[in-house]
Structure formats: structure tokens, C-alpha cells
Symmetry: none
Subunit: 391 residues, 2 copies
Amino acid sequence: MNAVSVISIGNELLSGQCLDTNRAWLGEQLSLAGLNVVSGFAVSDEISAIEESIAHATAQANIVLITGGIGPTDDDLTRDAVAKFLGVELEFRQELYAGIEDFFAKRNYPMVQKNRVQAYIPAGAKSLRVPSEMKLMFSNEILPQIIDKAGKNVVVTKRIKCYGIGESNLNETLGDMLKRGQNPLINCTVNQGVITLHVVANSNDKKTAQEMIANKISQLQSLIGKFIFGYDNETLEGVLGKELQSRGKTIALAESCTGGLIAKLLTDLPGASDFFQCGWVTYSNAAKNRLLGVDAKLLEEKGAVSREVALEMAKGALERSCADVAVAVTGIAGPGGGSEEKPVGLVYIALVSSEKTFVEEFNFPPNREVCRLRTAQKAIAMVRKVFLATV
Amino acid sequence: MNAVSVISIGNELLSGQCLDTNRAWLGEQLSLAGLNVVSGFAVSDEISAIEESIAHATAQANIVLITGGIGPTDDDLTRDAVAKFLGVELEFRQELYAGIEDFFAKRNYPMVQKNRVQAYIPAGAKSLRVPSEMKLMFSNEILPQIIDKAGKNVVVTKRIKCYGIGESNLNETLGDMLKRGQNPLINCTVNQGVITLHVVANSNDKKTAQEMIANKISQLQSLIGKFIFGYDNETLEGVLGKELQSRGKTIALAESCTGGLIAKLLTDLPGASDFFQCGWVTYSNAAKNRLLGVDAKLLEEKGAVSREVALEMAKGALERSCADVAVAVTGIAGPGGGSEEKPVGLVYIALVSSEKTFVEEFNFPPNREVCRLRTAQKAIAMVRKVFLATV
């Protein structure tokens, strides 16, 4: 039985100043890996409270994860509490100290004496390489060790990423496949318009579990194949980037309402220079005219948020770049700027290449952040569907 | 001493399917009302686990709040666990049953036998009128009773947002101000280069608590004033946007390594069109030359990541827009593209206005995401420090 307890440390978690997103994320990852999360603790920045929570957690679970309180300041007391609970001293580790010195030297920051405390860990403890990201550290360093210790039952998971279908629709299409108590089990999570199906297979050998997963995936492919864009950590933009790259095609962007978000998403990808040419963020009418050559009269007559202007923006971007395809978006992200005729959430997305001229109207939720993200996703999906499908 | 512990019940909270927003909200309300939240528990839908958490919580606090697990289904076990902990039986209450019948009758729903369980509560317990909203129930029914029992203590909190100083450095500068056990108490959290100081004052009247906060803030101002950019929910980009807007100044951007991230951050803000003119995402050398007029020979001689190219990009952006200030960034975000001479993390940020020409070199952590975000933050901070400070 592999029971896990998660302890989150920080006064800000108790007073409600912060949501405990780390604990939720860890809970999800552990559950998806087939481990049983039995309890969670939120604890104040005090040695005795932390020590007590570790005692409670270890009574309930054979694996205890603790997050928070390992910085260099006086309210970072996790290392002291763990040492006290284990009945050992804190031990200075020269290799950790060297790493901290190196960190500051590389950034030309002065290293103050306070940071020395971060080179101390409970005697006998093993230190992890700590990237700035808790998620990376967990996935790369901790989860494999937990699974390793968790024994002979093998859990294989595969995430199937879907876009372009709603949750209830998917639910109806898949029917009994989503019922509890099956093996493989399919869990469904939704995040920002992307649905992830987590397929979890349990077996006593890895090969069988993998075959079970493969079978389930081919069933899913036949039912909802056209909505599946990727697997595991793949993203919409990542898949587009790879596809453009492998076909030697490049893209240019002209963004109004998304204000650089699409360019940002595409350049999040390492090696983006292979397929990303350039982008314009033409927020004002003047910029649309001056930078992209959109006719001033057209802007006045049709309005910046119109089918015609979206097309002109895309044409302007294609002409001014050496890209194979240009995508333009213009819309009303809100909260202001909407009217009865053109409400907040109205967006036009245009795509132009040497072969194609395409523009589509969308009505996204009238919330600035949601509208901008949905626009970016649709634009990315459009390049795959309208441009890549035919080159 | 009024110590409160909050227990949240539900498997979905442990497996990360839901964020524990109830507990965070309760923590905030309790803190704002002057109560000391000492611990939080997330517990699975099992009688023994709930009973155990109540035992732990009552050992730590004199007030224990439990949320979740009071519905009619088989996994709603809070009433059983509380009765077991108290060593009493569950008791059928006719008046509660009548209320449940009434609830269904009014909505024309059939009442199934399952719902009868909701008329049982631990013997000797007091039932609350339960509106559908946890928040309303807490504010109207529970908080007044807690405060009544607790005496009148008031807690006022204020968050102070800092940028440009490391956590350990800040700690050394503030010294004893960060020590535990003080009133006001200062808690420190770090997120993506931004440090938040949470100042928490306790008093028996609100005015005194507010004065205590104000005093502490003026002390902090005199010690680290130049690093403080805002309060409570303010962000670096939000503060810049407001400042540009209030002075009637506009900005243009030329981004290479950040690939649109700075434009995205600035246009996250509603009303960004008041201060944001336009942006170029010139990822390739060709784009820097064609779109911004950066000399092709300069690009070849100095390289795209150089002081000189950063300046030319900013100049090109200023000339091609009607903005008052232009900022350009060029750097090596990695993972590829680094060399001994120009390692991953090397970034140049340039700022040009009619009065100023400024460029600075930075060495950010060699991680694509971190490097891009740090670059964006520095660029935003630079506009405030170099441009706005003098207009």
C-alpha cells in the first residue's frame, strides 16, 4: 500500500493569501501515477508545528512530501523541523555551498551570509538538484524515485490531449469508457479549452500495462481521433511548431487583440527560429495602417474588428515577411470596447498563404483573458487545419 | 488565544481535481476577523481519517471548522465521523427532516430515501440553517458566533510588492523586522522574481491595526523603498501601464528573445490601447533588418545578441511608431544558441526616447522560460527607472 501525505508550509497558505496550488498539483500527479494520496496538511512557519505535522503525516502515509519553507529567510524553517523530527543535526554540505556561490557568481549578484543556511541539510539526508521550478523537480527527480520504491505493481499512464470538443460532448461520445472502476481507467481533466484524457493502466508487468494502454488509445482514436492533437506534455503550439519545422514552412503573425500572445506561445518553444519568422503587434488603427498597410478608409468603414481588416492584416504580414503563411487576429477582448453590433468576444481570424485566403468569425466568452487565449488556440488550430493539411 | 484549525473533506481535494478554495477563503475571513489560523487539513472521505484529523485539529486549536462531506451520498461521512469523535450517537431531528421535505416539495423534485440521512446530526449538536452558499453560511451564521466567543480582535493585512532585490539580501536589510512572534508580523513569499511582504497587524480595534500597518510600511519604505513597486494585487506591468497612462505616454516594443511576451504582458491590461502603440517580434536577423532597419553588416559583425543591435532595434521601433519610448530586447534564451563568449542567458535591453539612449547587459538564469520572464520584468522596470523617472 503506497500512501502519500503532502505537507505545505507557509503562513500565507493558512491566512488565505495564497491558494495551495502546489499541493493540488502534486495530488494530481501522484494520483495519476497510481499512488494514493491520503492526507494533506497546511502548516504555519513554526518549527514545532512543522515537526508535529510530519509526525501526523508519517503515521498515515509511508511517503511524505513537504513543500515550502526552504528559502534563506528567517521564516524558512523546514530544514530545522525535519532535522528535529529525525533527531539529527543540520549538516553543512560543501558541494551545496559551492552550488549556491556559483549561482550568485554567474548572475553577478552579491551572495550574502544568509544564503549559507541553504547549504545545511539534515544529517544523512539526500539533496536534490533544485531547478527553479517545483514541477520539474518533482517530475524529474522525485516521482521516479517514489514509483521505484512503490513496488511491483506497474502503473503506466498516457495523456491524450484533445482540442475542439466540449467536455459534455466528449462524455457523451465516450459513454461507458469513462466509468469508474475500470482498468485501464480514464480520467478526464479540462484546462483552458484543452481536454486531457489520462489513461491509467495497472498490471504486474510493464509490457502488459503498455499493451492495455495501446488498445485503449486505438479505441479512443477511432471515436474521437479528429480532436486528438497530441500526447503527454504536448501542447497545441508545440505540435504546430513541430509540424511547420518538419515541412520546412515558416509563419508570420499580425496580432491585434491577442497583443503578442500567439507569438509568445510559438516562441516558448526551443528552436522557434526554424519556423517563426516575425510578428507584428498592431494594437492601434494607426499601427495597422502604418506597419501592415491596412487601408485607412477600410479601417474607418468596416472597423478594426472586421473580416476585411483581418484579411488585410494577414496579407500585409505575408507581403512584409518571407513566411509561407501569415495569420492575423483582430477582435474585442474587453472589458471595454464592445457594442450591440460588435460585442466583447467577437474575433476574426484570417489566414493567407500563396494558395489560401481564409477568414472566420468567432464569438468567444466575454472575458479578456479567456477570449485572448481562445483566440490564440483557434489561430494555431487554423494553421494546422487550413494550411498544413494541404501542403 | 483564539486558534482555529480548518478541515476540508473530500477525495477530490487530495487527488488535485479541485483546488481547496473553501479553505483559503475561510483562512482569509478568519484572519481578517483577527483569528489565528494555525493549521489546515485535507482529508479523504473515510470515517477513521476524518475522526483522526478532528483529534489532531482539536489538539492544536480551540475552534475547529469542518467543510465537506455533509451531502446525502455514501461518501458523505462527516456527520458519522464527528459523532464518533464526540462519542455520541447520530440523532434524528424531525424539524430538519421537515425542512428537507419542504426543500424538495418547493422545487417539485422527488425526495429519495437517501436524503433522510441529512436529518441526522450528532446528539447534542446544534444545526445551522444551511443556505446553498458556504460563504453566506459562514459570514451570517458561524463567524458572528466565533467572534462572540473569541472577544474582539482585529487583523489587518497589507501586501507589499518588491522587485530588484534578492530574498536573502532583503532579509539582511530588514534584519529583525522579519523575526517571528512580532506584531505586526511580516511574512515573505517569492514568486518569479517578485517578493511579496505580507504585513499582518493584530489589535482590538481596526483603526489601531491600520495605524500599526501604516507605521510598518513607512519603516519598510525607508529601508527598501526603491524596491517597492506596488501593493496588494498590483503587478509590475500593471504599475507601468498605469504610470504611462497617467502621464499620457505611449510605448513601442521590439522583441527578439522574448518573442512577444512583453507585448502580451502589457496588453493583458484592460485599456492597454491608451499606452501601448505597437510591437515587432523580430526573431530572425532578416526580420530585424527588414522590419526595423537594423544594418545587415552590424548584425553580421556584432551578432544579433549585442549592445549595438539592441540599440538599433529600439531606434528602429521608435522611428516607425509614434510612441514616446521604445524598448528592445535581444538575447539567448536557450536551450540552444549559446557559446562561451555569449552564453545562454545573455540579454541586452535597450531603451530609446527623444531624450534617452540606454542599453544594459544582463546574465539571466540559463533556462528558457525563466530567462524570458526575467528579461520582460527587467525591460518593464527599465522603462519605469530610466524613462518615467525623468518625464
